[in-house]
């Protein structure tokens, strides 16, 4: 589904603080699988995740999404591709404070120009699915950590993406909530979503949901084997 060819990402190029985040990465992600990017902090997994999720462009190398070269797409199209293909769950949840949970869930779909009524209906269905229907009209800062994360998941799902990307999803959750998160992921996988998770939490990479672990260290892929 996604293929990276010899991808390299450099921050602050040609400056004193030049920093190579990832280098020489070749990686192929198949549909309907669950992949974990594993590695210590600073290993480049977040950078790799943003490149995989079309949020950042590589300094060099090529990205193919469904056999389509997307590295050179202009911003507008890239944003569109990202919006339609990826749903992202951030480490800090990154919900917009001060507005309701429902509005947060609907936000990624706003630029699509979907009819408000049907969009709201879909958002409510997602909230229902994640047992959050009672919190729809609460402001997000009143939610607990677990609730906030489920809102973030609902938001990632609103545009019905093929791929769900999660960056350190369990970093701010206790064990019970982490397991709960993995159960939701199992559900999504069963529905046919492709999962891409960056994590160094055993609850995540030891989970039976995961098909494949890609290990990263110092910006390079150390091992990319499937789980036997």
């Amino acid at each position: 589904m996604i293929r990276l060819q010899n991808v390299r990402k450099v921050f602050n190029a040609d400056k004193a603080n030049e920093f190579v985040a990832i280098e020489g990465v070749n990686l192929s992600i198949d549909s309907h699988g669950a992949t974990v990017l594993k590695g210590p902090s600073g290993s480049g997994k977040t950078t790799l995740l943003s490149i995989l999720g079309c949020m950042a462009r590589p300094t060099s190398g090529r990205i193919m999404l469904k056999e389509r070269e997307i590295t050179s797409l202009p911003e507008r199209f890239l944003t569109e591709v990202r919006r339609e293909t990826f749903g992202i769950v951030f480490q800090q949840f990154n919900l917009i404070k001060g507005i309701t949970a429902l509005e947060n869930v609907m936000l990624p779909a706003y630029p699509n120009g979907e009819k408000h009524a049907s969009l709201k209906k879909r958002a409510m269905e997602l909230l229902d699915l994640l047992n959050l229907i009672g919190k729809a009209f609460s402001k997000v800062e009143w939610l607990s950590g677990g609730e906030a994360q489920r809102i973030a998941i609902a938001r990632a799902l609103i545009n019905n993406p093929a791929i769900i990307i999660a960056d350190e999803p369990t970093a701010h959750l206790d064990t019970r909530l982490s397991r709960e998160f993995m159960e939701i992921m199992r559900q999504l996988k069963k529905e046919g979503k492709t999962l891409l998770i960056a994590s160094h939490d055993p609850i995540v990479y030891d989970s039976t949901v995961i098909d494949r672990i890609v290990e990263i260290r110092d910006g390079k892929i150390v091992s990319s084997g499937d789980i036997p």
Binding site: M55, A56, P111, L119, R155
Partner: protein, 384 residues
Amino acid sequence: MGAIEKQRNILDFTLSSLGRRKGKNIALVVVYTFVIFLLASVLFFTHSLKKEAFLILQDAPEMTVQRLLAGRQDLIPTHYIDTIRQIRGVQSVAPRLWGYYYDAMSGANYTLMVNAELNDRAGEIIIGNGVSMRSMSGKRNQALRRNDIIPFKTYDGSVLTLKVRGLLPFASELVTADLILVSEADFRKLFSIANDQATDLVLNVRNAKELSTIAAKITQIHPDTRPILREEILRTYDAVFDWRGGVIFMVLSGVFFAFIILAWDKATGLSAEEKREIGILKAIGWETSDILLMKFWEGSAVSMAAFFMGIFLAYLHIFLASSILFEPVLKGWSVLYPSFRLTPYISVYHIATLFFLTVIPYTVVTIVPSWRSATIDPDSVMRM
């Protein structure tokens, strides 16, 4: 359809977003409303006054002839009347006798003017409404009425007492508030002006097209005179309150620019929180143009609200509350000030001017500085 729905979706979010900083945004709208209110009040006031002046001065004398002496207006000899009357095209020439009288008791300046109707009623006066309110008789806080006696100090030091015969119509206060109409005999006695002299001459002509030719002829025959045409009187009032030239407008522009700077500062100094939000929106699939659209709606919402409220309040202020805030400025040091209710004359041009002067700059000022924040990479939130 999708495009409209998109706009509305983004507007929904913008309004929710504005609602979060309620106190700050309400304060902003209030200040902004006040600025527009002041600008609109000035425009409405001056425009209506100009229009009013234009309408009622249509019947001012076609031509007034003054005599200048050493750079000052001086009394004009009445024998000029005969020579001017002989100019072809002149229909009638009449002397005017008028001047100012300072009343030490009330501290007010009055305009004394001779009216032919009083000429066989020497000793009587007709007064404007403003004069009657400013009691000259010593009885403070009491309006002058018919048959009240007013003492005038003549220029030779004696006292001349005149009796109020009546009041000028209420509706004419805008032109007659400080007027005291007297008989010719009393006027000459009061100011010791010789019988062969007048303040100035007013004339009517047969054909208005010949006015300038006649004016030229008058200055030829009497080089010491200065003709003033009605057209010039009308133009005077057009210029006196021209909003582009008025100091009021300059002052208000200052206020307005200060406000724009404030808005600019607010917009450029996007808080870390706001920047983070823009990053989140970009990361979840908003384009740069969507962010700018949001900022556009934000600027529009604030400035449109202020625009409508400001204009409406200004209308109430000028036409229903008699420009109560401007009164101290307009009165200045005048002791006597006409109380009048302006007839509302508003023009689409002025509303449009205000719109382009306020809503557009504010909206631009909200969008432009957020440009840089809007172009941040969508992955920036991942790295935070």
